[in-house]
Subunit: 203 residues, 2 copies
DNA sequence: GTCTATATTTGGATAGAC
DNA sequence: GTCTATCCAAATATAGAC
């Protein structure tokens, strides 16, 4: 049964796994189907029983990028009617979690690698990564303003300011970890961001 | 003389110019020496009279990335002893200028394209792009704190918060312009950032 | 310094046997 | 579904004539 389960791990899935790792480390172009096949343990030509071509492999892999990322946060943030500093703190901790999560990190790296070579990714980056976060955050800030918890202003601007720092930290962490360097200097950066930002907007 | 000047534009320089454009649009790997040569108007093999190989061409091009960027700002910012909102405003306007400057934009795009495929670039990104800016900004904030112009806190954190948004705007602008899309929505984002940030830190 | 010709490698993809 | 064999295209790089 165990052996079966292992074998049942579809060759197709194994291909996608190997491909996503390679793509996220060397990019699409520098990854050859030969290498992918080698890792899976099959010959290169056998790949074509599962995928039409290399591009289709990438397409399947890239779907993952925007599957995981922030859906978790949305739920847990909306359920309890969080507000004030707790709201931005929780949001940030979710973001931090994803930043250091192996699978999310891999997909983020892939996104960054291919961002300027793939228009579709760029569009999704704006719509899925950016706009969704802006929406979620600005709604939160809007409520806080109504309750006079924070100073008044444009909630969208606030959201923009808030998310940009999160992104920047994430990028830096990703770069450091890519070179297996220490991220100690950035370990508490997320928390510091929350503190600084709350001081900046609180009433 | 005019003809001469035109011809004197070293083939070498023409190669670098063509290469930097192609690299910044398609990345290192997707750019072939054939295409470079074609644009210059010579045969591919003639390139090797000027450069040892493709990598050397890239190396020369990539030097440009960290040549231009912030040295301008440093001077003009230090000369007058700027402080308060004017300081961050001037700094930001310099940053905005570079964001929309054609040559700088090209180099920034190249940086972003190759960032995750080139360890040397990653290191320079941290040391030249990030650390230098943090240093410059935190020194400014430090002085402002001493003069009680802004609330007290860690100047490095403040600098980090400030630069991260600038970077994020620049990235977004670069992505939009890469696809020849309008950046109207981001046109005043830099100014809004200055306003928001000053409200956040002023005493 | 540039050209033509060519060597060499690598990588994507297909055909056909098992 | 996987294998071997093969094809084809693209790309880097070198050799040698002009």
């Amino acid at each position: 049964m165990n052996k079966d389960t292992k074998k049942r791990k579809n060759t197709k899935e194994l291909i996608l796994k190997a491909a996503s790792t390679l793509f996220s480390e060397h990019g699409y172009r520098a990854t050859s189907v030969r290498t992918i096949a080698q890792i899976v343990g099959i010959k290169q030509s056998a790949l074509y029983n599962h995928f039409k071509n290399k591009e289709e492999i990438f397409f399947e892999v890239s779907k993952e990028i925007f599957n995981t990322p922030f859906s978790i946060a949305t739920d847990s943030l909306n359920k309890e009617s969080l507000t004030g500093k707790v709201f931005i703190h929780k949001f940030t901790m979710q973001y931090k979690l994803l930043t250091f999560d192996k699978a999310s990190e891999k997909m983020f790296r892939l996104l960054m690698i291919e961002l300027l070579q793939n228009e579709g990714l760029r569009e999704q980056f704006i719509s899925e990564f950016h706009n969704k976060n802006i929406k979620m955050l600005s709604e939160g800030f809007f409520v806080m303003m109504q309750n006079s918890l924070i100073r008044s202003g444009d909630p969208m601007i606030m959201a923009y300011e808030f998310i940009s720092t999160l992104f920047y930290i994430r990028l830096q962490v990703t770069l450091l970890r890519f070179d297996a360097k220490s991220t100690d200097a950035l370990a508490t950066q997320f928390e510091k961001h929350v503190d600084f930002f709350w001081e900046s907007i609180k009433n």
